[in-house]
Structures are given as structure tokens and as C-alpha cells.
Symmetry: C2
Subunit: 271 residues, 2 copies
């Protein structure tokens, strides 16, 4: 079959020639939580936390999953996570970045579904305590060795974990693909999305300014350092840290109050 021009071709084109998968988007929403200090002198502990939603429908009924939904045919791909954040979790105008597209054949028991996943960073303090009936923040911690990661998720009421195996890609010495080894509570392949997001964040924190999307407008350098430490998953030395962020922040006239120790100046992100 041949056509005179593109217009004629399009008029005869049958879009059903190839089967089509469903496409969803899933969003890993990451923030920083404060844990109450054990003692009046101590400052608050920080931890990384993510927002999960309890499914009240099949498939994976009653399990936890990332906020997500189907892509609409009339919206740009990046607008899908924006819409879902706005409608499902009431989050607007936040940092959003495409993470990876997951396309395992059997990742959804209903049918073939691809997930274009995104990572979103928010400052929890700007949000209402209760975001959604079914949504809950889970603190994230993990233990990692050369070929496994065990990730622990915990909220006040419940906690669970999953484990991922890291498998070196052929042709590389530094790229891994992941495989779920154990997973009790999460729907779909969401453990993979969560871990990909944690790794992305860990990598990008040192060469970008994304942290400040999770910080309040005013913060102390001690707090900021704790956030870096939680994301980089290691302790940092004070002088080194201060040198590194020196030109990303500016000192304000305000000071911390009520700390059981020497109060810090409040700082602000300097673009």
C-alpha cells in the first residue's frame, strides 16, 4: 500500500495494528521527618520518609503502594503525576523528576502495564498533617551490602521491610538491575521504584540543590547537615559540610530558640 502524502497516509492509518499496553505513573514522594528527641538537650533526629497509600481495591487490596494512576490520552506524560499529586494527595507546585520506566511483563496481574515513575520532593511542614484518608508517611531506613539491600519502612502503627538483590549488568562494573527478594506489604514492583528513587536522591544531592525542596524556608546548618547525612547514609564532618554548602545558603538575622544548647543562626537557601 502506498500513499501520495502524509495526510493521506494518516487518513488511512489503523492505530490498532499493534497491541497497546496500559500506562500508569507512580510517584515516590520523599520528605524529611523529625523524630522527637529523647532528651531536652538533644536536637531532633531526622529521617527520610515516603508517602504510601493503602489500596482499598483489587489488585493488591489492603497492601501499600505509591500514589499513582493511569495516563490520560490528552495529557502530557509529566502532567499525569502532577494531576495525581493534586487530586490524590493535594500536593501542588512541588519538585518532580522522571525516575525510570518499569515495564516487566507481569508487574500487574490485570494486564500489561508500564509505569513511568517519578520522584517528588516536598517539605512536610508545608503540608497538612493528614493528607489523605488512605495515605501515610513511612520513615525509611536501610542496610546495604555489595549485592543486597534491606529496606525498612515504619510508621507509628506498623512497619515492614523488603529486600532487593543487586545484579550487575553485563558490560558494566557499576550499573545494577534490581530484583525483589522479599516483600510482604507492598503492591506491584513498587519496592524497585522506591529503591531507585533512594539511589537517585543519594546521587543527586551532592551535585544539585534538590535538598532545598525538602527544607523549610529557614533552617539551621545542623538540621541541613542531618538531612544530608540521612540521604547520603553516612556521617559528615562539620567543617567539611559547612565548606561545601557555604555558597548555597545565606545566614539570616534570626536565631533558633528553645534549644537545650547553644542556639544556631537560621539560614536560607541562596539561589
Amino acid at each position: 500500500m502506498s500513499y501520495k502524502n502524509e495526510e493521506e497516509f494518516l487518513a488511512h492509518y489503523n492505530p490498532n495494528e499493534f497491541d497497546r499496553p496500559s500506562v500508569t505513573t507512580d510517584i515516590l514522594i520523599v520528605s524529611i521527618s523529625d523524630e522527637a528527641p529523647t532528651n531536652y538537650r538533644k536536637s531532633k533526629k531526622k529521617s527520610m520518609s515516603i508517602l504510601l497509600v493503602k489500596r482499598d481495591d483489587y489488585p493488591f487490596k489492603d497492601m501499600w503502594c505509591l500514589p499513582g494512576g493511569f495516563l490520560r490520552m490528552d495529557e502530557e506524560l509529566e502532567d499525569a503525576p502532577k494531576r495525581i499529586l493534586a487530586t490524590e494527595t493535594n500536593l501542588r507546585d512541588i519538585y518532580l523528576e522522571q525516575l525510570y520506566t518499569f515495564g516487566g511483563v507481569h508487574r500487574d496481574p490485570r494486564m500489561r502495564v508500564l509505569s513511568a515513575s517519578y520522584i517528588a520532593l516536598v517539605d512536610k511542614n508545608k503540608l497538612p498533617e493528614k493528607i489523605h484518608e488512605n495515605a501515610k508517611w513511612f520513615d525509611v531506613d536501610y542496610v546495604e551490602d555489595h549485592d543486597h539491600v534491606k529496606v525498612y519502612l515504619s510508621s507509628e502503627e506498623e512497619n515492614f521491610s523488603f529486600e532487593i538483590k543487586k545484579i550487575l549488568h553485563e558490560k558494566t562494573t557499576d550499573r545494577y538491575r534490581f530484583e525483589i527478594v522479599s516483600n510482604a506489604a507492598l503492591a506491584f514492583d513498587h519496592p524497585l521504584i522506591i529503591w531507585s528513587g533512594i539511589e537517585r536522591l543519594k546521587n543527586k544531592i551532592s551535585y544539585t540543590d534538590i535538598v532545598f525542596n525538602m527544607m523549610p524556608e529557614y533552617f539551621t546548618l545542623g538540621e541541613l547537615q542531618k538531612v544530608y547525612e540521612v540521604i547520603l547514609h553516612k556521617k559528615l564532618l562539620d567543617p567539611a559540610f559547612r565548606r561545601i554548602i557555604a555558597d548555597k545558603v545565606e545566614k539570616t538575622e534570626f536565631m533558633e530558640t528553645g534549644a537545650g544548647h547553644r542556639p544556631s543562626y537560621m539560614y536560607r537557601y541562596k539561589k
Copy 2:
């Protein structure tokens, strides 16, 4: 409607509840080309080159595009680019990495099509001269300023260029989205895929070993340095370069022959 269990739910599930987009994969195949030296003393110039295919069907008939094709319903997402590389360009067992998923509503005039794009790195010397009737290698060069990039593509017979505008994402000081400003010869939004790939390569070359996927087994450090320079788009100083790659390569007993200057030892990638 409520179901007793997941099995029952699945038995009644209607996968046509949501419209589905078509999903393709497009592959940016990157390699290194040698240009003949202008003078017997000089060593060969290196340039980055990509493989483009001339479309002989609508849409975008007679324009150039990246090798690509539709995702099959029974194959893993990463297997689609592998299959297409094998069948369309006869490339097997090469470095492949997911780049980005493009999902503009009108990026394909036929219907809604998402493209999960991949970048592939190959050593041209391992390949036959003619890969496919419609495929051709184009050397890539570009000129970049703070908010525009002009990319020049050239083969022996023809050359063309496209221009992209870099637009800072809200909430960031370091992430851009791209918009095509001019494009004479490339189909779809492929200029965006090409530029994303170039940037990815530029970033990853310094903290991974991916270059060696584009290198022959034996090479001189001068050649390797030229490859770094072409990808990083800047000159490097010899001693600094040699320090950096010192523990990624191992010297062999072989030496370069026929160079119009002091011959170099041949090196090899050391894992």
C-alpha cells in the same frame, strides 16, 4: 461492585476501562569515528557519531530517525531495544541503558505514542561497514550556550542541524527541559532524544567506565584521551588525564606502528 478475592476480581476485570497509548522504543546508538588526518604526521581525529535510519514510510517519510519500533505485549521493556538492535541493525550484546520516556501528546501524528528511549554504546570497528540499507552514521558536533544548543549532524553525503532551547525547570537551578527550536531533517521529537543522550554520556563518562564500550580492545592513551575530549567537549591536559585513567587501563607489550611520530604503547581496559 465488590469481589471476594483477587482471583475473582481479575476474572471480571475489563482492561479496556482506560484508553491506552502505543508504546515504542527508540535507541540512540553512539559510537566513535575516526577522521582521516590531514598530514602523515598527525594522528586521526575522533568524533562522536550516531546511527540514523532513513524512513521509507509515512509518517515523516524520507526523514531521518533513530532506530526504533513498537513494544510487543509479551516482551520485557528492555528486551524491545535489544530485539530492534538485533533485527534492524544486527547489533547484539552491546551496552544499553534506559534514557528517558518521552510522552508529548502530539509527538506522533498517527496517535498517542510514548517512546521509552535507550542509549546504546558500540565500538564501530567491531561492526560491518554497512549496517543496514537505510542506516547511516552521522558525526555529531554542537555549539552550546547558557540556553541554546545547536547540534550539527554530518555524513559524507549530507549534513543538517537542529536547535534546542533549554528551559530551566521551576524549583531548580540545574535541571532543564528541552524544546525544539529548529529541525529540518529529523522525524518526531528525536532531536530531544539525541540531545538527552549526549548529555547523559557527557555526565556519565567521568564517574563510570562506559567509554570502554566504544573502544576497541587495544588502544593508545592518546586515542582514549581524544574520545574523552570529544564527549566532554573540551581539551584535557595530558598528565591529569593519565592520572585519572591510570587504574582503569593496563599497559600491554604491544606498540602502535606506522605513526609519523613516537609510537605509543597499546593499552587495554582493566576491570
